[in-house]
Symmetry: C2
DNA sequence: GTGTTAACCTTACGTTGTTAAGCAGGAGGA
DNA sequence: TCCTCCTGCTTAACAACGTAAGGTTAACAC
């Protein structure tokens, strides 16, 4: 274990890394309840109390594990979008899809972060994975400057898009909405994950909004002058999506 | 404790109710980690093992507590919207706001549900609060029939709106995005909760979408002719998903 | 009187996170 | 070579946890 001659590198790194790796594996395998100090210790062949030499307590260990996991998120998201044109809507869409994929692949990390209640709400920079927020914000600003999405408060749009994808994966982690979407054939297409398939359909809603086209065109002139937030546009029955019974 | 003469009413109801109430209070006060069998028992003056006479184990107790809490959600949501016109967009907006309020008021219940990992993903009907899903779906269908929102798969719209509000409250429970929204003056208006203030701004994005008006009007003419709904419009990922042509 | 059942109780077991005390061994100075 | 200090662990023990096993008591049926 100990490096023979490289003095400046303390051997402690080995144990600390081993602890983190064992904890990461346990978390991924069985969630937080499978991650006990004794289980981690047993995996790497030390006593449970040895962990306290490297981490203040279990919470600190879990925090490090989760942070490590999410440190990869920023790179993961950048990789997913780097080949797509800057400022494009495709890039934003790919980012959302990547977020969902990352959440699925790191489900236990997500659950830990959004289950543990911090004593006080943490600042966004202290939340593991806040790097993902930076990526998303950059893409939104780019798309806004390129004129591909509406110009409004970018932070609001960022939070909106984040809410959509995060809400989707969170709901999917808690329950299985498969049955409620059984009638939606397209949702059950040959896509790896149902949540991603649904997100593909969300994209049209995100882009076009829920207001029927007729109502929008009718009310566009008057809305030029006043734009109250909770207004109710007069409804004209439109049928933009001709489909059988439910779709 | 024991009722003297009223035979048909077994005394056990008192204890069971007391257990549920104590567990509910402990959960609300200190979250899941404050809810221990011994703490519940101490509150009502029985031994910890007495609880096992009424509940199979801790999980069953927590399940009942959370279910009870969410049983009120459907009534809560209906109350919030009953005075608003059926099929209106206001009704949908009020429903979203009510969901957020309910989540804030029942934060610990939310955390338990979306933190605990069921062995297998549960069916939507088994999820506490699925009554809220029913309310939302009804409002979406009404609004669709009234022509106030676009006609498309209602379940998709339901899941979309649910994702938006659920994602928003989940993000807010995990971190404090106050700083990142510091520049958004409107968000810091005199509204009770920041999340509700933000949701008010989300509503415009939900209704109008992110596509700039100019781009929409320019593209509307050509889309009149060729409009396969599931088609790769702008914004669909480059990962070329094989999509069903049905939706 | 006997038997049954409901509604508790006490005791105890194994596991958990965590602390305290101490030991082995290498490094460094005298 | 001896002493001291620090690092990286160890064992022992603690309180709190969920929960299993079995005893006790009162109410009730026959």
């Amino acid at each position: 274990m100990t490096l023979p001659n490289a003095a400046p590198v303390p051997r402690h790194c080995d144990t600390e890394t081993a602890i983190l790796e064992a904890a990461r594996d346990l978390l991924a395998e069985g969630g937080l309840e499978a991650l006990s100090m004794r289980a981690v210790a047993a995996r790497i062949g030390v006593s449970a109390t040895a962990i306290y030499h490297w981490f203040e307590n279990k919470e600190a260990l879990v925090d490090r594990v989760v942070s490590h996991g999410f440190d990869r998120s920023e790179a993961y998201l950048w990789t997913a979008i780097e080949s797509l044109p800057k400022g494009s809507v495709e890039r934003l869409a790919a980012l959302g899809e990547a977020y969902i994929r990352f959440a699925i692949e790191n489900e236990q990390y997500f659950k830990v972060i959004f289950a543990i209640q911090p004593p006080a709400p943490r600042h966004i920079d202290d939340v593991p994975g806040h790097g993902g927020y930076r990526v998303l914000r950059q893409c939104v600003v780019d798309a806004m400057e390129a004129g591909n999405i509406r110009r409004t408060d970018p932070d609001l749009v960022v939070l909106f898009l984040w809410s959509v994808v995060h809400g989707l994966v969170t709901i999917f982690m808690a329950c299985d909405p498969k049955d409620m979407l059984a009638e939606c054939e397209a949702c059950n297409s040959a896509v790896e994950h149902l949540s991603i398939s649904i997100f593909l359909h969300f994209q049209e809603l995100i882009r076009e909004g829920l207001t029927p086209r007729e109502a929008r065109e009718a009310g566009s002139a008057e809305r030029e002058t006043t734009a109250p937030p909770g207004r109710d546009g007069p409804g004209v029955t439109g049928n933009a999506q001709p489909r059988g019974s439910s779709c």
